[in-house]
């Protein structure tokens, strides 16, 4: 009788110990970058990828591109302007802007010009070359390619919350503006809606 009690007890202790130990170690699991994982409901990599994929599809299939190539007999040069974060979260807009840039350049139908901060660094380097580089390899100033279009945008959110339920609505707007005449040649929009349930209790 007492032996059974003892063994039951020790089994319980063992289980408890095992549980404790398992809670101690950090566990790492590698996941595919395309796998959708939502943790807190905040803006994450999945949103960023969704937005850039959709926007890229859209921008390459619209008339502005063919029109420009036909009339100018060359590819348009685009520059990325500011994508303003008007949302409730500190969103890193650089990731999807970089995604977008990469897809567009790799499509081979659009050229990209370095942004203003990048340009400054290049100019400094060119100035440096002027002083130190060999004549044959020196790059001249005033030979930069001017952009034809500027890509600008905003990220907006509307959040509606009641108790532990939260509805998060994201809207990303991107606009391509012609630098020559301020015409908006393309407007892209992507909406994301999430319903987040927060837990009220834990043990």
């Amino acid at each position: 009788m007492s032996r059974t009690i003892f063994s039951t007890k020790s089994a319980a202790v063992l289980v408890a110990l095992a549980w404790l130990v398992s809670g101690c170690a950090t566990s790492v699991e590698r996941v595919d970058v395309n796998q959708q994982i939502d943790l807190s409901g905040a803006w994450n990599d999945t949103d960023s990828q969704l937005v850039s994929a959709e926007m890229m599809q859209d921008v390459l299939n619209r008339v502005w591109l063919d029109e420009f190539t036909r009339s100018q007999k060359r590819q348009p040069a685009v520059i990325v302007g500011e994508v303003r974060n008007l949302s409730h979260e500190h969103i890193n807009v650089n990731t999807f802007v970089a995604d977008l840039e990469r897809s567009l350049i790799n499509s081979g139908r659009v050229q990209f010009v370095a942004s203003s901060t990048e340009r400054q660094e290049i100019r400094d380097e060119r100035k440096d070359q002027d002083l130190h580089a060999r004549e044959a390899t020196r790059k001249a100033m005033g030979e930069e390619q001017g952009a034809d279009f500027m890509l600008k945008g905003t990220i907006n959110t509307i959040i509606d919350a009641s108790g532990k339920t939260q509805l998060r609505y994201y809207q990303v707007d991107l606009t391509l503006i012609s630098l020559a005449d301020n015409r908006k040649v393309w407007v892209g929009q992507k909406k994301i809606k999430k319903l987040v349930e927060r837990s009220k209790l834990n043990f």
Binding site: S40, R84, N85, L86, S87, H88, E89, H90, T157, I159, A161, S162, G163, R198, S199, K200, L201, N202, F203
Partner: protein, 476 residues
């Protein structure tokens, strides 16, 4: 024989309860020992280091005291605040962001912690921050971003303040803290700078409503800078009716002030974090009462007077928190920039807000303390009873005494609060032409006597932009 055995078996249950109680009490004792000094007592040394402006030492002390996982939010809040005083705004934002996430995590209440708090005390529950603290963490993050010159990031915090205030208003509709006037004012200033004037107008309006509503509780009138902001934007937006109403209410000669900050000029915004927020102390109300079950026993005892031994009275302890102000000698600050002067004005009285918040929660805290006292009383009684059935006098004594000591020792008030917050926040604004200036800040006492002077060299003012500068003055 068998009857005796049966009786013995029946007696086992109370003895068992008694033994478990002693075991529990010892456990509680161990728990209580490391919590012998209340949270707020351990802050004295940090306060001293801050007063001497030894921020690195203060950070180290905060780090040393960071052992308890339940106080993690507070540790991060204090760390972020001291990093701010050190003018390390990037690090401060990292700490405050982590504090915010910890508070968010604690939105889900822990059942096990609450069960333990019912047996031991309120301080066994992880600290998720008072409502006003949860709002102010956003405010200070916004200020950090503004001092770093990132109004767009500050705008994100402003939106989060709005969300948080809505959440509080929904949770506690009759709370006094459903609006935070200073946060709204700052939100307005952020929108204003970013050229989003209709949003700025809405924020100023909310600040105005909040100051008016809270005038009775928090004794701050609508600040003159807000009056000017309202007049200026109402005129700019062409809101004629509203403009006339404000002009009548504020009775200011409107044209002069409202045109003062023209488009060509920039603005210096000086924030004085004055003193330290009140600190929670513990008051203990102790009383000897008959054990809870004694009343029931009394009727039984009346019938058969002889055998039942009288149980000793139980000492019930209620440990309750109260706020103690930490007065500052500084009444306001005067900023001087190239011949121009401005005095700071109180925009938010955190001292009063904290007190109001605690007194609103006091009935619940007291109710929990009473419930706990009764629970501990029941435990005490069962131990006493089981002890009396033992023959050994020493065991009898030790058992009841131990439980008695532990119940008293574990009853501590929850004295945790964000202690590096200022007692009040004051603001001064100066319109200046673009350029680089030396800003002189003089801290003034109650009768305008000079307490300290500090010069901030080479502060850059840019056209149509606001430059934020803050200082925290410590009480000595």
């Amino acid at each position: 024989m068998s009857a005796q055995r049966l009786r013995g078996g029946m007696e086992d249950l109370p003895t068992y309860i008694g033994r478990v109680s002693i075991w529990l009490a010892t456990l509680a004792c161990v728990l209580a020992l490391n919590g012998c000094a209340t949270y707020s007592n351990s802050f004295a040394i940090i306060k001293q280091q801050l007063a001497e402006q030894h921020y690195d030492e203060a950070l180290k002390s905060i780090e040393d005291q960071s052992g308890d996982k339940r106080d993690r939010a507070l540790y991060l809040l204090n760390k972020g605040m001291v990093q701010r005083m050190k003018r390390d705004f990037v690090a401060s934002n990292e700490s405050l962001e982590a504090a915010k996430q910890e508070m968010e995590r604690l939105y889900a209440e822990s059942v096990s912690e609450h069960a333990l708090s019912f047996m031991v005390n309120d301080a066994t529950v992880s600290y998720a921050g008072d409502d006003y603290e949860q709002v102010l963490v956003h405010l200070y993050m916004a200020l950090n971003y503004l001092e770093l010159g990132q109004p767009n990031e500050a705008r994100v915090e402003a939106l989060q303040i709005d969300l948080k205030l809505r959440e509080i208003a929904e949770k506690i509709p009759d709370s006094k803290f459903t609006e935070d006037a200073l946060s709204r004012q700052l939100t307005g200033m952020i929108y204003d700078e970013l050229g989003e004037w209709s949003d700025a107008m809405i924020a100023y309006r909310k600040a105005y409503e909040a100051y008016k509503k809270n005038r009775a509780h928090f004794s701050i009138d609508v600040p003159t800078m807000l009056q000017f902001d309202l007049l200026r934007l109402a005129r700019q937006q062409g809101l004629a009716d509203e403009l006339a109403r404000y002009q009548q209410e504020f009775s200011v000669a409107s044209t002069k002030e409202t045109t003062a900050s023209s488009e060509a000029e920039g603005e210096l915004v000086f924030i004085l974090n004055n003193g330290l927020a009140p600190i929670k102390r513990e008051k203990v109300i102790g009383m000897w009462t008959p054990p809870p079950a004694a009343a029931v026993d009394a009727s039984k005892r009346a019938k058969n007077t002889d055998t039942t031994p009288t149980t000793p009275p139980v000492l019930i302890n209620l440990a309750l928190p109260y706020y103690e102000s930490r007065p500052s000698r500084v009444a306001c600050a005067r900023i001087s920039v190239s011949g121009k002067q401005a005095d700071t004005q109180i925009m938010e009285d955190i001292d009063t807000i904290a007190r109001a918040s605690l007194s609103a929660r006091m009935p619940a805290i007291t109710a929990r303390a009473v419930a706990r006292a009764i629970a501990k009383g029941v435990m005490q009684e069962s131990v006493d009873k089981s002890a009396q059935r033992r023959d050994d006098a020493a065991t009898k004594m030790i058992g009841s005494l131990l439980v008695r000591v532990v119940t008293i020792a574990t009853e501590r008030a929850d004295t945790r609060s964000w202690l590096t917050l200022p007692a009040n926040v004051q603001l001064a604004r100066l319109s200046l032409p673009p350029g680089s200036y030396d800003v002189t800040v003089e801290l003034l006492g109650k009768d305008q006597n000079l307490i300290a002077t500090r010069v901030y060299p080479q502060v850059t003012i840019r056209q149509a932009r606001k430059t934020y500068l803050s200082q925290h003055s410590m009480p000595y």
